[in-house]
């Protein structure tokens, strides 16, 4: 094929593809953007060391360390966490099974070494703060896109990244946030910034993603910071020793391993 012919084909492809691309860009909705973020591929399984640093308004810091394992199953995602620090919660473990089925609640269990017992707990309180941090369970990614109405507000550049700005208003009027505004990086589907507004429409918290990396073809958030602007708390959440698609066995997500520990 001659060079001229190649150029002709390329021009034809561009002429055909450009309007399609523009059409797709115009038609993307707030819901689609948030679904893309929710469904962003992060591998079939992942293990990592999670460090949460809780800093109060006086600058005092408390540190929680967790070893966590996550795996995708046919119709569910299973997660098991082992608490390492502080010392008084060491060997406590937590297991969560979340389901693709929209109306099905998560199943959650906690193993308390002092009681030597695995206890089923209710997963209904998604608005509870996780281990005293500024992240609720919903903030950590458990909230399903269909629980909110989403609206694409605008597109803008933040820190050199082209972002969609999406406003999400919960369908449940009793929910702890009246609305959230997210800045989503267009080509990576990472929410790099998110503002949370309380029931009185006052600015409550801001989430900023400080570090993300491509690991095994997946974009993984490695450091995020949640700042409660009303109480001037912050929680830094950092992932280290991230291993993706190592083939974590199914039996890792069982009562046996909760009791046995790391």
């Amino acid at each position: 094929m001659t060079t001229i012919k190649k150029i002709q084909i390329l021009i034809v492809v561009m002429i055909v593809a450009l309007p399609v691309y523009s059409f797709a860009q115009e038609k993307i909705t707030g819901l689609q953007i948030i679904e893309n973020v929710y469904n962003r591929q992060t591998g079939n399984d992942m293990q990592s060391d999670l460090t949460m640093s809780l800093t109060n308004s006086r600058g005092d810091e408390r540190v929680r360390e967790i070893k966590q394992f996550i795996k995708e199953f046919d119709e569910s995602e299973k997660k098991i966490m082992f608490f390492v620090l502080p010392a008084d919660v060491r060997n406590t473990s937590f297991m969560n099974w979340s389901y693709d089925e929209v109306d099905k609640d998560d199943d959650q269990w906690i193993y308390l070494p002092a009681l030597k017992k695995v206890k089923r707990i209710s997963s209904d309180s998604k608005s509870d703060y996780f281990m005293g941090s500024d992240f609720t369970y919903d903030d950590l990614g458990d909230r399903k896109p269909t629980q909110d109405n989403h609206k694409l507000l605008r597109e803008e550049k933040v820190d050199g990244e082209d972002c969609f700005v999406v406003e999400s208003i919960p369908k449940d009027e009793e929910y702890m946030y009246s609305r959230t505004v997210s800045w989503i990086i267009k080509d990576k589907w990472i929410g790099m910034k998110k503002e949370f507004y309380d029931e009185d429409e006052e600015h409550l918290k801001t989430l900023i993603v400080k570090k993300y990396e491509k690991i095994k073809d997946y974009w993984i958030i490695l450091h995020s910071q949640m700042h409660n602007v009303q109480k001037d708390h912050t929680t830094d959440m950092e992932l280290e020793n991230v291993i993706i698609d190592s083939g974590i066995p199914d039996r890792k997500f069982t009562e046996r391993i909760m009791k046995r520990g790391l």
Binding site: N56, A87, D124, S133
Partner: protein, 411 residues
């Protein structure tokens, strides 16, 4: 004796100092526990210092844990104990645990229905933390796993009884006899032989819909039955002497428990059928003052979170079957437990109220407490134990109302 304890402490200190460079993990806590009675004299209910050490290590398919601990009281010698010392062997679908261990079954909180494998240390009634109430027993435990199903078998070669408070303790139950009895302890011990072993089996499932356990046991009653022989003076027809012979009896039981969620509620149930339990009776035709009966012990409970407050309630009933009116125990013994708790200051401050309520005797044990983590791993706890009523399991300790503090450093 003192030398042995001292040597034990030196070994522990050596182990701890050695720990930083070696792979076994060394965790535990140091705690001061001081309690004052709310009687007129404000006597100390307890002054106790505790050093608790967990040494654990694992390598491929094997692991071990040793949990020595020391209780130190100002007016007593040091007491060095071993709560657990066991070895684990992990196969593909089977885990074996051999040695001294605590084995906890059931879904109930603070109630012992199917949770009867490890006996209880009631030296301070039910006031100790739950990991301190259970006595470690030497056992072989085998678990076979099939998906989320677990089959568990326990063999206990040597029986261990409930540890009761010493006679001088404020927690020693006051026995009400018309004359001073003569105790015969000759039959109290269960012989040290293979035929006196205890056996337990359990099948459990953890699933999306429900968690449940089915269990059975062939065991010794952890609490001795008081066999009573009365000698009547034939000339006066009055009670001349009273002989009491404590004796443990064999018990058989089958039971089960479940736990599930219904929206924001967690529902729990647990029950067991005990056969051949001996109860004390005032029936004069019974030669030793005891009657052998079967009984049911069961519980239903519910828990939820409302306005960030954790709320849990349980109703427990013990029912003696084929009841004889002259049995000392009530035909139905009903108890409620109630727990409310709430966390503040990013889960560093916790308020909690736990209570047992005896419905038969209108008595109760009310346990409010406040816990604050001054820094991570350093906990300050202040609480009270209030006994309400004059009789019953809780009312009989009406004079033992107390306030206490616990200061604990976990490492």
């Amino acid at each position: 004796m003192k030398r042995i304890i001292l040597e034990g402490i030196i070994i522990l200190l050596f182990i701890v100092s050695y720990s930083s460079a070696q792979s076994p993990s060394f965790t535990g806590y140091v705690r001061n526990y001081t309690g004052v009675l709310l009687n007129g004299e404000n006597d100390y209910a307890i002054i106790q210092n505790t050093f608790n050490l967990n040494i654990e290590d694992s390598k491929d398919m094997v692991a071990f844990k040793v949990n020595p601990y020391i209780y130190q009281y100002p007016d007593k010698e040091l007491n060095l104990y071993l709560r657990e010392a066991y070895l684990d062997i992990y196969f593909n679908a089977v885990d074996l645990r051999i040695g001294k261990q605590q084995i906890i079954w059931g879904k109930a909180d603070g109630v012992f229905i199917t949770d009867i494998v490890s006996p209880k240390d009631l030296s301070e009634f039910l006031l100790r933390d739950f990991d301190e109430i259970r006595i470690g027993i030497t056992a072989l435990k085998a678990d076979y796993y099939l998906g989320n199903n677990t089959f568990e078998f326990v063999w206990i070669p040597k029986f261990t009884a409930t540890k009761m408070p010493v006679d001088s303790s404020i927690w020693c139950p006051k026995l009400d006899f018309p004359i001073k009895p003569i105790f015969d302890y000759s039959q109290k011990e269960v012989g040290n032989s293979l035929k006196n072993s205890e056996y337990f089996a359990k099948y459990s499932v953890l699933s999306s819909a429900v968690d449940f356990e089915i269990m059975a046991g062939y065991m010794w009653d952890d609490d001795p039955t008081m066999h009573i022989e009365k000698i009547i003076d034939s000339s006066t027809s009055k009670l001349d002497s009273l002989f009491i012979t404590p004796k443990h009896h064999r018990l058989g039981l089958v039971g089960g428990s479940f736990s599930t969620t219904l929206g924001s509620f967690v529902l729990r149930g647990e029950g067991a059928y005990y056969s051949n339990k001996y109860f004390n009776s005032e029936n004069p035709t019974l030669s030793d003052g005891t009657a052998e009966k079967n009984y049911l012990h069961y519980l239903v409970g519910v828990g939820c979170t409302l306005w960030d407050i954790n709320i849990n309630g349980q109703f427990i009933q013990q029912a003696i079957l084929d009841y004889d009116e002259q049995i000392v125990n009530d035909k139905f013994d009903n108890t409620l437990t109630f727990l409310v708790s709430k966390d503040y200051l990013r889960e560093t401050l916790r308020l909690e109220l736990f209570s047992y309520i005896g419905l038969n005797n209108s008595d109760a044990l009310i346990r409010p407490k406040i816990t604050y983590d001054l820094v991570d791993g350093f906990e300050l706890l202040s609480g009270a134990n209030i006994f309400v009523g004059n009789e019953g399991n809780f009312g009989r300790y009406d004079n033992n109302d107390m306030i206490y503090t616990k200061i604990k450093y976990s490492y």
